[in-house]
């Protein structure tokens, strides 16, 4: 039960303002989700480099000396930017797997928020405005991003329960609604070797999409398959390295509004989230149809 915002920029001149625009949109959704907030931002692509965003409840100890240790361990240059409880590790793309394995050993208390060439995910417990400030979200630049404010339904109010959920390299998912068959699906996925860390229904949806894509589905096909396999009420917004998608369940009663202009495609749980966008007065505004996958790509 939550608020969702999303912004996919077509006009490159808006990219420096992505974080600022998303933050403003996110804060309007505070009432829908006062428990926790999160944001995924897709930044610039640097050839051969990748980003790993991690979180720790004890950032002082977790991140102390990590840059040097990790460089030594994987035999490559890494740089580390600490932002509150999160840290973004910049590393060679081909060292990602090695780095994740090393981190598990060296800093078992850290959790991976996202991994990929361009994605960074920040999420924490608290009001959206406070969370955005802690991570300096308004300063972030990029081509597209997704934000989420959470009112927890059945699972705990924790950082790990916050959205967005990472669904694979450069992929993420946010959700408004409540799934009704996620427990069975979690067990099915576990038998397939896809593990989830929380009791959260959204994490199962994210893991399901990851699993489908690992088995050769495109994101669009995975979302289509989800319409059959995921039961309950949902509006999902997903991000990929160069794309942005939306799908609602066949009943479609959780709110969703979309707007498109020559400059951007935007998503909001309510129209309020979109009112500050440039040129919104003349945008094409509509509500996505049930059981229909919408997708935009750069």
């Amino acid at each position: 039960m939550c608020g969702i915002v999303g912004l996919f920029l077509k006009d490159k001149s808006l990219e420096p303002k992505l974080g600022e625009m998303l933050t403003e949109m996110l804060i309007t959704m505070t009432d829908r989700g006062p428990d926790s907030a999160g944001i995924a931002v897709y930044g610039a692509d640097h050839d051969g480099r990748a980003k790993l965003t991690i979180q720790s409840a004890t950032p002082e100890t977790s991140y102390a000396g990590l840059e040097v240790e990790l460089s030594g361990r994987i035999g490559a240059e890494v740089s580390l930017r600490v932002k509150d409880t999160h840290a973004v590790i910049d590393l060679p793309e081909d060292k990602m797997l090695e780095a994740r394995t090393a981190l598990k050993e060296m800093r078992p208390e850290t959790r991976v928020m996202s991994a990929g060439e361009v994605i960074e995910i920040y999420k924490e417990v608290g009001l959206p405005g406070d969370v955005a400030e802690r991570f300096d979200i308004p300063q972030l630049t990029g081509s597209h991003g997704i934000g989420h404010t959470r009112m927890a339904t059945e699972s705990a109010v924790t950082t790990l329960g916050a959205h967005p959920f990472s669904t694979g390299a450069d992929q993420c998912l946010v959700h408004n609604g409540s799934l009704s068959n996620h427990n069975s699906l979690r067990r099915t996925l576990a038998r397939e070797g896809v593990m989830t860390e929380t009791e959260n229904d959204t994490e199962v949806a994210a893991a399901y999409l990851t699993w489908k894509m690992q088995n050769g589905h495109s994101l669009g096909e995975a979302l289509e398959a989800g319409i059959d396999d995921l039961d309950g009420f949902y509006t999902f917004v997903v991000g990929t390295k160069d794309g942005f998608g939306v799908v609602r369940d066949p009943i479609a009663c959780k709110p969703a509004v979309m707007a498109e202009t020559d400059q951007y495609v935007a998503f909001g749980s309510e129209y309020r989230a979109l009112v500050s966008l440039p040129g919104i007065e003349d945008a094409r505004v509509w509500e996505p149809e049930p059981a229909t996958v919408y997708f935009w790509k750069h």
Binding site: A252, C253, E270, Y271, A273, V275, V285, W286
Partner: protein, 227 residues
């Protein structure tokens, strides 16, 4: 004209003023500026006043309205005009889902499109949409008229009772127990009046009427699949 800045003074102050208006008020024209998609704007009004909201509104604008005319100079959020009893709501832009849910009377006009579940459980209201309506519109509609000048989405009029639906364009699909009906002279006359009042120049003859097939009114095991 009284102008009220919602962004500055807030919802409570706005309703204290609007609810203080009585049958014989002289302050009949109101303008609400800076709505910014706020929820529950101009709800529970009960006086012959005209309120114009300059901008888009959130959930439930004009909810439970009686007598008042409310103009929304923008788009309207979910549940606009829910359970309206009388009066009028005119939306210049689009309307979100649940427009006029359970409304008992009055007229709602949408100049743009209305989203899903337009007129859900309508109980006597008239709704005229210049554009299209989304899926499950008029679900369990009990009475009143839904006029759609464009197209209707899936499952129009599912499980409806005695509400009437007039659609000019395509209907993607009809819901359970909803069927096409004959357009008789009385329907043309009714529709003509509604279109005129809604400022719509479509011709009544171009519309098709739909309504309840009345097969689900009393339980019959042979219809079990439709419930």
């Amino acid at each position: 004209m009284q102008t009220f800045d919602l962004g500055e003074k807030g919802l409570r102050a706005m309703h204290e003023e609007l609810h203080a208006q009585t049958q014989s008020t002289n302050e009949t024209a109101w303008e609400i500026v800076n709505p910014k998609g706020s929820h529950a704007i101009a709800v529970g009004l009960d006086a012959p006043i005209e309120v114009t909201v300059r901008g888009s509104t959130g959930y439930y604008c004009g909810g439970m309205n009686k007598q008042a005319t409310i103009n929304i100079d923008g788009s309207a959020g979910p549940g606009t005009g829910e359970n309206m009893m009388s009066g009028k709501i005119i939306i210049e832009g689009d309307a979100s889902q649940y427009l006029g849910a359970t409304a008992h009377g009055g007229l709602i006009v949408v100049k743009g499109n209305a989203a899903s579940r337009c007129g859900i459980s309508m109980k006597g209201v008239d709704i005229v949409v210049h554009g299209n309506v989304g899926h499950m519109s008029a679900f369990m509609g009990q009475s009143g008229n839904l006029v759609v000048c464009g197209d209707a989405g899936e499952a129009l009029g599912d499980s409806c009772y005695e509400a009437r639906f007039f659609v000019r364009g395509e209907v993607k699909s009809l819901g359970a127990d909803c069927e096409k009906k004959e357009m008789r002279a009385e329907h043309i006359a009714l529709l003509k009046g509604l279109l005129e009042e809604a400022g719509c120049d479509a011709k009544p003859e171009e519309f098709t009427r739909y309504g309840s097939a009345r097969q689900l009114y009393n339980f019959d095991i042979d219809n079990a699949g439709a419930y």
